[in-house]
C-alpha cells in the first residue's frame, strides 16, 4: 500500500511540462481540476477483505469531461465516492482544485457536486420537485434570490418545466432521475461527479442533459461513469476503463478506437444458420436472432473474407448481406474487459 503527501502530489504534477499535458489530453490547459495519486480502497464484505479500488492515478483538467466505464462492481461508484470524500481511501490521496481531499475535506465539499442516481436518489417524497430543489439550495447555503435564478435556469435547460409542481411519486423514473441531476447542478460547483446519470433517461432527456453539461464544460471538471459506450465516445474527452478496481487504460476515445479496436469488423445477415457453426471461422462480437434461423452478426474474421464466404456457401447458409462496420468504443471496452 502506498500513501502520498500533498506536497509530493504537487511536485509530481509540476514535473509534467504544461504543453505536454495539453498535447496529450487534447484540451486547452487550465490546470488540473483534480489530481489523484495511487488511491486504494479495501472494503470488508462478509468478513472478507476485497479490493474495491486498486492503486488508481489520473488527473482531470478544468474544462475536461472524463468518462469512466467498467463492468458492474468494477469500482466506479466507489471511486467517485472516494473523490467526493464520502469514503476514506485506505491509502493514496487526491487534490481537488489544490485542496487536499483528506486534510481539507470541508473546503473540498464546497467545490464538488455529486449526482448519484442509484437507489431512492435521496428525494423527499412528500415534496414537489421544485420544493426538493429549493430545499437543497437552502442546505447548500445558496441565497434564496440566487437559488431561484439558478433553479429556473436548470429547470428550463433540462426540460423540467412541465413537472416541477408534481410530488415525487407522481414522477416517472426518468423524471426523478432528471430531478436528481438538476439538484446536482444548482450550486454550480467547479467539479461535477455524475454516477451513471442517464440510466433511466429517454434519448431526448439524455440530449438535454448533455447539452447542459457541455454548456458548463468550459469552467468545470466533469467526471461521469456510464455503461453506454456511445455516450462515452460522444461526450468524454478521455475515457478510463476499469475492472476489479484497477485502471486498464486511460485515453482519448479517438486513440482508443485507432489503437485498440479489434481488427476489421463486419456485419452480416444470414439465414439457415446456427451460431455454433461459426466457432472456427469468426469471432462474434454481437449476435441477434431475427427468427426462422435468420441471424444478424457483428464479428471479426479469424481468416480471410474469401475463406469465410466459401465456408458459408459450403454450409448452404443464405447470405443476405455482409458489410464493413466501424469499430466502436464498445469493441475496445469488450477487448480490454475480456482480456
Amino acid at each position: 500500500m502506498y500513501a502520498i503527501s500533498t506536497s509530493s502530489l504537487t511536485k509530481i504534477y509540476q514535473t509534467v511540462p504544461d504543453d505536454a499535458k495539453a498535447h496529450v489530453r487534447g484540451v486547452k490547459e487550465r490546470g488540473p481540476g483534480l489530481w489523484v495519486k495511487n488511491i486504494f480502497k479495501l472494503r470488508t464484505q462478509k468478513m472478507r477483505k476485497i479490493v474495491a479500488v486498486r492503486d488508481l492515478s489520473f488527473s482531470v483538467e478544468v474544462g475536461e469531461i472524463f468518462g469512466i466505464i467498467g463492468p458492474n462492481g468494477a469500482g466506479k461508484t466507489t471511486l467517485i465516492k472516494l473523490l467526493s470524500g464520502l469514503l476514506y481511501p485506505t491509502s493514496g490521496n487526491a487534490k481537488i482544485l489544490n485542496y487536499d481531499l483528506l486534510d481539507d475535506h470541508e473546503k473540498v465539499k464546497d467545490k464538488i457536486a455529486y449526482v448519484s442516481t442509484s437507489g431512492w436518489m435521496g428525494l423527499e417524497w412528500q415534496l414537489t420537485a421544485y420544493e426538493n430543489l429549493l430545499f437543497y439550495a437552502d442546505l447548500l447555503k445558496i441565497p434564496r434570490k440566487e437559488a431561484k435564478t439558478a433553479l429556473d435556469d436548470v429547470i428550463e435547460s433540462l426540460g423540467m418545466v412541465g413537472y416541477v409542481g408534481k410530488t415525487i411519486p407522481q414522477l416517472s423514473a426518468g423524471m426523478r432521475q432528471m430531478l436528481t441531476i438538476a439538484r446536482g447542478f444548482i450550486a454550480n460547483r467547479p467539479i461535477i461527479y455524475l454516477d451513471e446519470p442517464t440510466t433511466s433517461l429517454d434519448p431526448f432527456a439524455k440530449e438535454k442533459m448533455w447539452n447542459f453539461v457541455l454548456k458548463l464544460k468550459k469552467n468545470h471538471s466533469i467526471i461521469f461513469s456510464s455503461h453506454d459506450p456511445k455516450e462515452l465516445k460522444g461526450y468524454a474527452d478521455r475515457i478510463m476503463i476499469i475492472k476489479n478496481g484497477k485502471s486498464l487504460i486511460v485515453s482519448k476515445p479517438q486513440i482508443l478506437l485507432k489503437e485498440f479496436s479489434t481488427g476489421r469488423i463486419y456485419q452480416a445477415e444470414l439465414s439457415n444458420a446456427d451460431l455454433s457453426d461459426f466457432n472456427e471461422t469468426i469471432r462474434i462480437i454481437d449476435a441477434f436472432s431475427l427468427g426462422n434461423k435468420k441471424l444478424k452478426l457483428r464479428f471479426t474474421l479469424k481468416g480471410s473474407l474469401n475463406d469465410f464466404i466459401t465456408f458459408l456457401l459450403y454450409k448452404k447458409i443464405v447470405i443476405h448481406n455482409i458489410t464493413r462496420d466501424s469499430p466502436s468504443i464498445s469493441d475496445v471496452y469488450a477487448r480490454f474487459v475480456n482480456e
Binding site: K81, W120, E124, E131
Partner: protein
C-alpha cells in the same frame, strides 16, 4: 453570513420541510390532541381511585403530579428516543451522502430532521398542563421560576445527549435494523420503571432508588414538582443523593443535572461524530453503496 447563522438557516429549511410533511397528514393534529387528552384523563381517573393521598414532599394533587410526569415524558420521548430513528430515516432514504456533502456540520441534519418530533411532541407539554388545569383539577404554583427554566434547559440537553449516544450506535455499533438497545434499555426499561413519571421515586425499593439516581429524569421531575406543585416542600429530601449531600434539594437537583448535561451532551455528539467517521471509512454512510 456566519457559519452558525448558516447552520440555523439549514435547520430552518429542514423545519419547513418537516412542517410541509406534517401538515400534509391532516389527521395528525386531531390524533395528537386526542392522545394528550386521553393520557391526562387516564391519570385523572386513577386519581379518583386513589383519592387525595399525601405524596410526601410533593403535596396531595396526583393529577398535577402526573401532568409534570407526562411533560417530562414528552420531552424525553423526543430528545432521547428520536435521534436514532431520524438517523435511520436519513440512512434508509439514501440522503446521508447528500447531507454529508453539503456545507453543514455533521449534526445539523439530525437536529433539522428532528423538528417533526419537536412540533409533534413539545406542544403536548402545554396541552397536558392545559387539559389538567381545565378539566381535571390540576393546579400549579410558580415558586422558583429561574430553577424551572434552568431545569427545562438541562433536562433537554441531558436527554438529547443520551439520544445522540443512542443515534451514534447506528453507525458505531451497526444497529441498522429495528430498534437499538441503548434507548430501549434506558427509555423503555430503566426510565419507565424508576424515572418517576407516575409515582414518587421514594416508593421504590432502595436498590431501584439508587438506580434512579443515575438518570436525569429523577432530578428534573423532583425539581419541577417541588417548584410547580402547590404544597410541595422545597427543603424535605426525597432522593438518596439529597439525603447524602444534605443541602437544598433543588440545588442538588440542579447541580446533578448540570453535571449530567456537561457529560452526556458532548459525549453524545462526539460518539455520533465517531460513528460518521467509521461509516466514511467503511463506506456505509448510505444504504446504497
Amino acid at each position: 453570513m456566519s457559519s452558525f447563522a448558516n447552520e440555523l438557516r439549514a435547520v430552518w429549511a429542514f423545519s419547513k420541510r418537516e412542517m410541509i410533511i406534517w401538515t400534509s397528514y391532516r389527521v395528525n393534529i386531531w390524533t395528537w390532541i386526542i392522545d394528550v387528552f386521553i393520557n391526562t384523563s387516564i391519570f385523572f381517573l386513577i386519581s379518583l381511585l386513589v383519592g387525595h393521598h399525601s405524596m410526601g414532599a410533593y403535596g396531595t394533587n396526583y393529577v398535577s403530579f402526573v401532568v409534570i410526569g407526562l411533560s417530562i415524558y414528552y420531552i424525553s420521548y423526543t430528545n432521547l428516543g428520536d435521534p436514532f430513528p431520524r438517523v435511520a430515516r436519513i440512512y434508509w432514504n439514501g440522503t446521508m451522502d447528500l447531507y454529508m456533502l453539503s456545507p453543514l456540520s455533521y449534526f445539523t441534519p439530525v437536529i433539522g430532521v428532528m423538528f417533526k418530533s419537536v412540533i409533534d411532541d413539545y406542544p403536548r407539554v402545554g396541552l397536558a398542563f392545559l387539559f389538567g388545569w381545565l378539566f381535571f383539577g390540576a393546579s400549579f404554583a410558580f415558586r422558583v421560576p429561574f430553577y424551572v427554566i434552568l431545569g427545562v434547559v438541562l433536562i433537554g440537553l441531558s436527554t438529547f445527549g443520551i439520544g445522540m449516544i443512542s443515534a451514534s450506535s447506528f453507525y458505531l455499533l451497526n444497529f441498522k435494523r429495528g430498534s437499538e438497545p441503548i434507548s430501549f434499555i434506558l427509555q423503555d426499561v430503566v426510565i419507565a420503571l424508576v424515572g418517576g413519571y407516575y409515582y414518587p421515586v421514594n416508593v421504590l425499593p432502595q436498590y431501584l432508588q439508587i438506580l434512579a439516581s443515575f438518570i436525569p429524569h429523577t432530578y428534573a421531575l423532583d425539581l419541577f414538582r417541588r417548584a410547580l406543585l402547590p404544597g410541595a416542600s422545597l427543603t424535605q429530601p426525597v432522593l438518596p443523593l439529597q439525603y447524602v449531600l444534605n443541602f437544598s434539594p433543588i440545588a442538588v437537583d440542579t447541580i446533578i443535572l448540570v453535571l449530567m448535561s456537561v457529560v452526556l451532551f458532548p459525549l453524545g455528539f462526539y460518539l455520533y461524530y465517531l460513528g460518521i467517521q467509521k461509516a466514511r471509512r467503511e463506506g456505509t454512510l448510505t444504504r446504497w453503496q
